[in-house]
C-alpha cells in the first residue's frame, strides 16, 4: 500500500484555532502592508511589523464646527489612552527636517496636501502612536488630503462623522466659551465650568460668531462629501444633536467594534425553537442560499433506527417512549456526521439539538465543532398551535396547505386533505411543553455565548432576514 497516496485532511481543530487567533486577518494585514510599502527586504520588514502589530485604535473624528468633535475626541482619548492629534498642535511641533518646507506664515489652511501627509506620516510613525494608537480630529479637511493619506497607507480603522443641522451648530457656537488659560471648551448652557476662576477666564472666540460660523459651515459642507466617499466602509455617522454623553456612548461603542472580517469561515449554526416556530423552514432557506448542509438530529436518529444499526436498536426504545436519547448513544452519531467532508468544508445548520443544557455542553466539547451561532426562534404557544393545527396535506398530490394562510384551491381537494396526527392540537401542545421545560437552562447556557433571539411569529421572509443578519454580522468584539 503506497503511503504517499492517502489523502490529506486539515483537522477541524485547526479551523477553530485559525478563527480564535484571527490568522486570516493577520496574514491579510501583513500582505497589504507589504504591498503598500514594498520594502526591498520583506523578511526584516515583516519581523518589525509583527512585533509592532497591535490592536491599538486608529480613529478619525470629523464633523461640522461646534459639533463637539474636540470634546468627544478628548473623552475618547482618555478612555482609550491613545494619542490625540489636532492639526494646530501638530503644526507647532513640526520636526526640523520638514519645517523648512513650511510656507512663511504657516496656518492650518495654507499647507499643501502632500506636505500635510508627510507631517502626519512622521508623527504617526512615532513609537507612542504605534503602541497606543491614534485619534485624528479635523483632518483630513478635504478629499485631496484624504486621498494623499490613503496613498501613503495611513488607514484608520474607524471613522466617525458627527452630523447635525446647520442651525443647531450656529446656535451652539453662540454659547461656546473657551478657558483662555487651559483652552478647555465649555458651554454656557450645557457645560458650565464649576470653579469661579475658570468662569472669569472664559472668552468667546471670533470664529464662533454667527457670520463666521456660516462661512465655516459652508466650507465644511463643501468638503465633507468627498471625504466621506473615501471612507465608505468604515464610516459611521452619529447624530450630534443629542446630549454629549449619548453621542460619546455611540462613538465609543462603534470604535470598540472590530471591522467585519472577510475571513472564510465555516458557519456552525444551531437553530432552536419550539414546534411550529419554523425551524426547518428557515434552515432550508439558509441552506439553499449559502449551500450549507442541514444536520437534523431527529432525522439522524430515525435513519439509525430504520437502518437497524446497533445504535439505532438501542435508541428505538427511547424514541418509542418519547424520552430523550441519552448522550452516550447520541454524541458519537452526531460527531461522525459533523466530521464528514461536507460538514467540514461547508459548515452545518443543526436543528432538533441540543434539547438540554447537558447536550449543549457535550456539543461544545467536540473538538473544533462548537457552534459559532445559536438562534432561538421564539414564538408563543397559541400562535404555534394555530400554525400547526391548520396544516393540511393532500394525500393524492402531496401538496401542503394551510387552512388560513394558504387554503386548498378547490372543494374537492379540501375534502380529501388530511391533518397529520402530530398536528393535532393536544399533541402540539405537548410537544411545545417539552421544549419549554428546558428552554430556561438552554437560554441561560447560550446567553454567555451570545445566543440570538428572533421573534418567529412573523412571515418566513422576515424571519429569514433576521437569521441571515445574525449569521453575517460579527457576533462579538472579536469580529467573528
Amino acid at each position: 500500500m503506497d503511503q504517499t497516496l492517502r489523502p490529506l485532511n486539515i483537522p477541524p481543530e485547526f479551523l477553530l484555532y485559525a478563527e480564535k487567533n484571527a490568522l486570516f486577518e493577520l496574514f491579510q494585514r501583513c500582505i497589504s502592508s507589504l504591498l503598500i510599502d514594498r520594502p526591498s527586504d520583506p523578511i526584516t520588514y515583516l519581523i518589525d511589523l509583527l512585533k509592532k502589530d497591535s490592536d491599538a485604535p486608529k480613529i478619525i473624528i470629523l464633523g461640522p464646527p461646534a459639533s463637539g468633535r474636540h470634546t468627544i475626541a478628548k473623552m475618547l482619548q482618555k478612555k482609550l489612552n491613545a494619542v490625540l492629534i489636532e492639526p494646530e498642535e501638530l503644526l507647532r511641533d513640526v520636526p526640523s527636517k520638514l519645517r523648512d518646507k513650511l510656507p512663511v506664515n504657516a496656518t492650518v489652511n495654507n499647507i499643501s496636501s502632500s506636505l500635510w501627509t508627510q507631517i502626519y506620516e512622521e508623527r504617526l510613525k512615532d513609537f507612542d502612536c504605534s503602541r497606543r494608537g491614534w485619534i485624528l480630529v479635523d483632518f483630513p479637511m478635504n478629499r485631496e488630503q484624504t486621498l494623499a493619506l490613503q496613498a501613503k497607507g495611513i488607514c484608520p480603522r474607524h471613522v466617525v462623522c458627527l452630523e447635525a443641522p446647520d442651525t443647531v451648530m450656529i446656535e451652539r457656537a453662540a454659547g461656546k466659551r473657551i478657558d483662555s488659560k487651559t483652552k478647555d471648551i465649555y458651554h454656557i448652557t450645557w457645560n458650565i465650568p464649576n470653579s469661579r476662576d475658570v468662569q472669569e477666564r472664559l472668552i468667546q472666540l471670533e470664529e464662533n460668531s454667527e457670520k463666521i460660523m456660516v462661512l465655516r459651515l459652508k466650507e465644511y459642507r463643501r468638503n465633507i462629501g468627498g471625504i466621506k466617499d473615501c471612507f465608505k466602509s468604515i464610516l459611521r455617522s452619529v447624530n450630534a444633536d443629542q446630549p454629549l454623553n449619548d453621542v460619546y456612548l455611540q462613538v465609543y461603542t462603534y470604535t470598540s467594534k472590530k471591522p467585519r472580517s472577510i475571513a472564510p469561515r465555516t458557519p456552525r449554526i444551531v437553530i432552536l425553537g419550539p414546534t411550529g416556530s419554523g425551524r426547518k423552514t428557515v434552515a432550508m432557506q439558509v441552506s439553499r442560499k449559502y449551500d450549507i448542509p442541514i444536520v437534523s438530529i431527529p432525522t439522524l436518529i430515525k435513519q439509525q433506527i430504520v437502518n437497524k444499526t446497533p445504535a439505532g436498536v438501542s435508541m428505538k426504545s427511547y424514541v418509542t417512549r418519547e424520552a430523550l436519547v441519552p448522550d452516550s448513544l447520541l454524541m458519537p452519531i452526531i460527531k461522525d456526521r459533523l466530521n464528514q467532508k461536507d460538514c467540514i468544508a461547508k459548515g452545518w445548520i443543526m436543528i432538533g439539538f441540543p434539547r438540554t443544557r447537558e447536550q449543549g455542553e457535550s456539543l461544545a466539547r467536540i473538538p473544533g465543532l462548537a457552534p459559532s451561532r445559536v438562534f432561538f426562534l421564539d414564538i408563543p404557544l397559541d400562535i404555534a398551535v394555530e400554525r400547526l393545527t391548520q396544516r393540511r396535506l393532500d394525500p393524492i398530490t402531496g401538496d401542503r396547505f394551510h387552512t388560513h394562510e394558504h387554503p386548498p384551491p378547490t372543494h374537492n381537494i379540501k375534502e380529501r386533505s388530511r391533518q397529520h396526527p402530530t398536528d393535532d392540537k393536544e399533541v402540539v401542545q405537548k410537544r411545545y411543553q417539552a421544549y419549554t421545560i428546558y428552554y430556561d437552562e438552554l437560554q441561560d447556557y447560550y446567553s454567555e455565548q451570545d445566543g440570538i433571539h428572533i421573534a418567529a411569529d412573523q412571515d418566513t421572509y422576515t424571519v429569514f432576514e433576521a437569521v441571515e443578519a445574525g449569521i453575517v454580522n460579527p457576533l462579538n468584539k472579536n469580529g467573528f
Binding site: 503506497d2 503511503q3 504517499t4 497516496l5 486539515i10 481543530e13 485547526f14 484555532y17 487567533n21 490568522l23 493577520l26 496574514f27 501583513c30 500582505i31 507589504l34 504591498l35 514594498r38 520583506p42 523578511i43 526584516t44 515583516l46 519581523i47 509583527l50 512585533k51 502589530d53
Partner: protein, 142 residues
C-alpha cells in the same frame, strides 16, 4: 495563490503588486509559514512567526538550515517506509510520487539508477534535500 490570471485588461497597479510578490517569493513564504502554523498550532502565532522569519533571515545570511517542516531525518524515515523490506532501492514511480507528496514539483526526472528502476536512498535524499532547500529559501536573491 500561485496562479494569477493574466487578463488582457489587468489593472496596471495590480500587475506591479503581483510582480513584487512573486519576485520576493511572498506566496511561497506564506505557504511555508502557514504549513508550519497548521502543524505546530502555537499559542502565540505572532511570536512563532517572528521566530520563523528570524531563522529564515539568519539562514539567508549564514547558510544555517532554513526553517522547514521536513527535516533530513524525516527523509530517511520516508525512504524506509517506501522500502520496508530493506532492499536499499525504490522504484522510479515511488521516487516521483514521493517527490510530489513532499510538495516538490520540479525535480530531477532522470536520477541515477532510473535505467535499472532502482533509486538509492542516497540519490533520493540528496535530491529531496536540495529541492526542499530551494522551496524553503523564500526570498529574493540578487
Amino acid at each position: 495563490m500561485d496562479n494569477y490570471p493574466s487578463a488582457p485588461n489587468a489593472n496596471p497597479i495590480e500587475e506591479t503588486a503581483t510582480d513584487y510578490l512573486q519576485m520576493h517569493r511572498i506566496p511561497e513564504l506564506f505557504h511555508n509559514l502557514s504549513a508550519s502554523i497548521v502543524y505546530n498550532r502555537p499559542d502565540d502565532p505572532k511570536g512563532f512567526m517572528v521566530d520563523y522569519l528570524e531563522q529564515l533571515k539568519k539562514a539567508r545570511a549564514t547558510g544555517l538550515p532554513f526553517p522547514a517542516l521536513v527535516q533530513d531525518t524525516d527523509l530517511t524515515s520516508v525512504f524506509r517506509m517506501l522500502d520496508p523490506v530493506g532492499l536499499g532501492y525504490i522504484t522510479y514511480s515511488q521516487y516521483a510520487s514521493t517527490m510530489e507528496a513532499l510538495g516538490i514539483t520540479k525535480y530531477n526526472t532522470a536520477p541515477t539508477g532510473k535505467d535499472k528502476d532502482q533509486i538509492s536512498s542516497e540519490t533520493f535524499c540528496q535530491e529531496a534535500k536540495k529541492r526542499l532547500n530551494e522551496l524553503n529559501a523564500t526570498f529574493f536573491v540578487q
